[in-house]
Amino acid sequence: MTERDDGLNRRKVLECMTWAGTGVLWTIAGGVPASLGIIDDAVAAQQKGFTFLQISDSHMGFDKPANPNVKATLEEAIARVNALPVKPSFMIHTGDISHLSKPSEFDDADRIISQARMDVHYVPGEHDLLDEDQGKLYRDRYGRGSKGAGWYSFDADGVHFIGLVNVVDLKAGGLGNLGNEQLEWLENDLKGRASSQPIVVFAHIPLWTVYPDWGWGTQDGARALGYLKKFGSVTVLNGHIHQVMQKVEGNVTFHTARSTAFPQPAPGTAPSPGPMKVPEDKLRTVLGIASVTFKQNEQRLAIIDTPLQG
């Protein structure tokens, strides 16, 4: 779990192949290299399929050394979105829009993100529910038509999208939490759907266990994944850990997006998961956006992570 892209030697590749043979493939990558070739491939894919965009962890209001200007980097991320040759159908934001749930922070996020001029589907991060009423501000602003703490589903181009909330009512010593009410809703939401319909699930904290020592996982995530077992194509998109990580298990592709605000260390490589200070000229190589392209008759969605620079 702590391996990184730069550690991919022959032995590792062989290990991965062994895993592939048993149906579990770990693609531990620090992101797809954003060489021109890859971008061209992405552009080609976008022209054939349906594309949406993921941004995450904008942390408006954060002003510490790891990035004293999170507004500027969010603006750069939105500029990247606007520079895409084919406009994505919509955007999802996987939470931590704000740092401290202040109205001014949400205002800043809305002002900048709206410059992309597309629909945005949000789920909250734990930083978005810090107001006195524990999330009322978020729900008033972003939760229209959602259930409970802000979960919902919708369909687009034949794909079923499900936005889940796993940052509410967290228990001491535990991980992210979906809770019984939301899980029952999910079970119902999936009932009667054809197993051939592609499913995209998005939530803030990873639904799979990335690193429990840092709380990077969802304690009842397995139950949610159980309801998704019958579907042939499931893509799970998360944020929270401020770095790209991907895992493919059976029909399920798990993927976490970069933050637009600051990076966090790889699991276990630092005393804590706190903001990671990188040299000024490296910051934009570890922040970024992800575009996801769905092509008919292909089980896996193509996910391209693009850093702000490099």
Partner: protein
């Protein structure tokens, strides 16, 4: 040499007696203590205090945290350098955690104020 030790001992004894007298004069006032929040941990993670002690948590991380003991106390969100204080009046074991990062846990054990004069 022996005289010096004797003198030191005398000084210590005087200091000790003074301390005991001070404590005796203000029995309800236990020494206040601090818990640091740093690197996503509470330090010290476990602490024994006398009833009447005020514990003050200070967030030294670049990320906000909270201090929550369900049904007992709940801080507002603590940004960097923010503090939260709670005075423990009733003996018992108080487990608490950060509601944003629930893997962060800590315990305050509160003992009755009477009995030993040793401060925590």
């Amino acid at each position: 040499m022996a005289t010096m030790i004797t003198r030191s001992l005398t000084k210590c004894l005087i200091a000790g007696v003074t301390a005991v007298l001070l404590l005796a004069a203000t029995p309800a006032q236990a020494a206040d203590v601090a818990v640091k929040i740093g690197n996503f941990t509470f330090g010290p993670q476990e602490m024994k205090v006398k009833a009447g002690t005020t514990v003050t948590w200070t967030n030294e991380d670049d990320i906000p945290h909270t201090v929550v003991s369900p049904n007992n106390f709940r801080s507002k969100v603590l940004d960097t350098d923010d503090k939260y204080a709670f005075t423990f009046t009733t003996p018992g074991t108080y487990k608490y955690f950060c509601s944003l990062h629930p893997h962060m846990t800590g315990t305050i054990v509160v003992e009755a104020a009477t009995g030993s004069v040793a401060s925590p």
